[in-house]
Amino acid sequence: MKKITRLAQIASPGDEPLAPLSVDELMALPGLAQSVPPLAPPKPRWLESYDFSLDGFSDFDLPKPTTPEEGERLVNGFLSGLEKLFDPQNNWPFVKNLRLAMDYCVRCQTCSEACHVYVGSGRQEIYRPTFRSEILRRLYQRYLTTGGKLLGPFLGADIELNVKTVWRLLELSYRCNLCRRCATVCPVGIDNALIAREIRKLFSQELGIAPPELLKKGTRQQLQVGSSTGMNPAGFRDLVECAEDIILEKTGKKIKLPVDKKGADILLIHNAGEFLSWPENPAAFAILFDAAGIDWTLSSEQLGYDAVNYGVWFDDVELARIAMRHVTLAKELGVNKIVVGECGHAHKTLCVVADRLLPGDLSLSEMPRESCLPLFWEIVKSGQVRFDPARNDFPITLHDPCNVVRLMGIVRPQREVIKAVCAQPLREMTPQGVENYCCGGGGGFAIMDTLNFSQWRNNVSVRVKVSQILAAFEDVLDADADKCVIAPCSNCKGTLREALRHYGLEEKYRIHYSGLADLMVNAMAELPGPYIKWNQEM
């Protein structure tokens, strides 16, 4: 159902959602309609304090402005941030790209169908990749350009800037997974995901407004405590011991995980969430590296044990601070390179985005940063570890984490590894590789669960991924057998965990998920039994 007739409606007054959602408007998921709970409206007490006027969902537990002065402060702060967004010194990281995106989009809407949020939502207008971009563009034209000031309505710069516009634009910037699939199909190379990120940046860097999971409990906590999970160095050392216990229990092997080993070849940095939610994954790395004779270490220094860098989703200042600490720690340990564990956004941040944000001594030529996936492939090719594919004799599909695949071009290693350690041929998703869709948890959504935001994620942004998984297992869905989605990324796994629960896919179809290291260890011929146990909470 089309609810929006004019972009200027973004400024319309009132607390009623501009584009409320209901399940029957979303993209159909054949066979699952009965098992999905309907969308619940926000709790009445939330409505009194918080703003749900975009689509009825929010992750922001910030009191809405109640006086004209508060509203004016918000609007003025937004305008001030908007100016800085287009200032070459304040926004040198992306000012050129942003200006190009503002000035040269031809509004052809070629990007629309590339967006899983737009398609999954049943093509609701507010989720079209260009919707938020066009609003920012019209505000930029109206308030920052001479042409827009003189010829506003002719150029389309007709959007009023008020509290509602500001708030809805904030919400809109968190309705994009930043997967950048749209950028790959744009004939002009305009990146609507970047625009969403720049809007997020404006709110964070100028007004200090960001989802609590990303700023307060995310980057702030990571810089102060050492990890966005709240884990301090002592806690990390305890979890390392837990991983050693898991290895002993599951394999009978006594492996001491190397920590703070000076001069090791590799500093391995995991997403710290792995140690808490899926400790089998870092344990699997240790088993593999031990068997392959790799000289490696973990770091127990603050930030050294948590590869996440949420700044990449919303704040360049925080992004730079965390990346600086990660690379500096590696230098201090005297390792030859950093290898990033199965965490997609940490891959992209350390190996790509931070490259031009750090001093020359920390550039990639001085401290290389690599993905774990090519290393896995090297382990397979080296023959030092013997794999028995028969141990992985179940249907498998592969999710391509956007940050690793579309944004870094790492496509083949994980496929070669699966080919070597699995009995059945890989069931590729449609589409696959660099064209694959986001899991629905990208850009921070995997960890955002304040107010009713997770309801939106589970119903809208993961929808296309669920449809792809069902299609990949279509011919074996009802078979009495376990099936597995391999997702070499912590946030993707977290999103899949919630999606499988929400749609009852584990119960109904025995569809599970796993990291890649776990799958490899599960096939190691020297181990006495299976490493992956499906009936355990993963």
Binding site: W92, R107, V185, E206, G208, E318, G360, P374
Partner: protein, 298 residues
Amino acid sequence: MFEWLMVLLGWGSVLLFVGVSAVKIFKLSRLPLNLRWEVYPSPHGPKERRRYGGSYMEETDWAQKPQTESFLLAELAEMGAEIFFLKRVRKHNPYGLWPFSMAMHWGTYLLMGWAGLLVVERIVGGVGQAVVLAYLVNSVGVAAFVLGAFGSLGLAVKRASHADLRLYTAPVDYFNLLFMAAIFVSGWLSWLADPALASHRAYVGGVLSFSPAALPVLTGLCFLLFELFLIYMPFSKLIHYFAKYFTIHLTLWEDSFRVKGSPVDEKVAAQLAYRVTWAGPHVAAGKTWLEQAQGEKK
């Protein structure tokens, strides 16, 4: 008087088009170097890898390997597919814009080519293969008018008639399309009135030799609109073909990693010295980017 104005406009429009475009490109190129922000597939790397969208990061120890290989041919092939066939619009646009957009773009390319051919014909007139050149001038001109008119009017109708497209179409977008349509339609009509394009040749000859020729109304209108369009184009988003070099070539395909002491490294060092005035509570306002990164306001 009008004929003289048209001669001056002929020269002035070309000079303004080139000059303003150059200034715009220069200004864009002077903006700071952006962070790496590539996407795949890209036209870099061996053919097999390009086929599935892989990168050098699929290997281990890639930072130890030199980045000297050029992928110019692959880049040109990919750019050519986009410029001449609008590959992405054809494959992904859900509103059926491709045939109209193709026609409009080819109409524009041919119109520019036709103007160039008229100049070449005048300069080399009567030499060698003049008949072939004359035939080419006539065919290219007519093809430009027909294709351009069909494409720009078709796009205007599409934008006005489809609710989804209409929502995002500003008055300036209709203006641009109708402006272009007016050039192509007036050109088409001028050809119907003068199938040998003699008056068009006479006008171009007059501009080149600074000797104004009498202009039939339709021919004069066609050139007047075309020249005004040349002046207008660099100020509008219609020069997105220049923008593509920055958005695609220098951003989406730019995957070279930084080497200490390289020109990129020096640029980054200079940019890290820029001062930050963001007002967020976690930002240390007034410090440089480097100082921010080094841990101010933990």
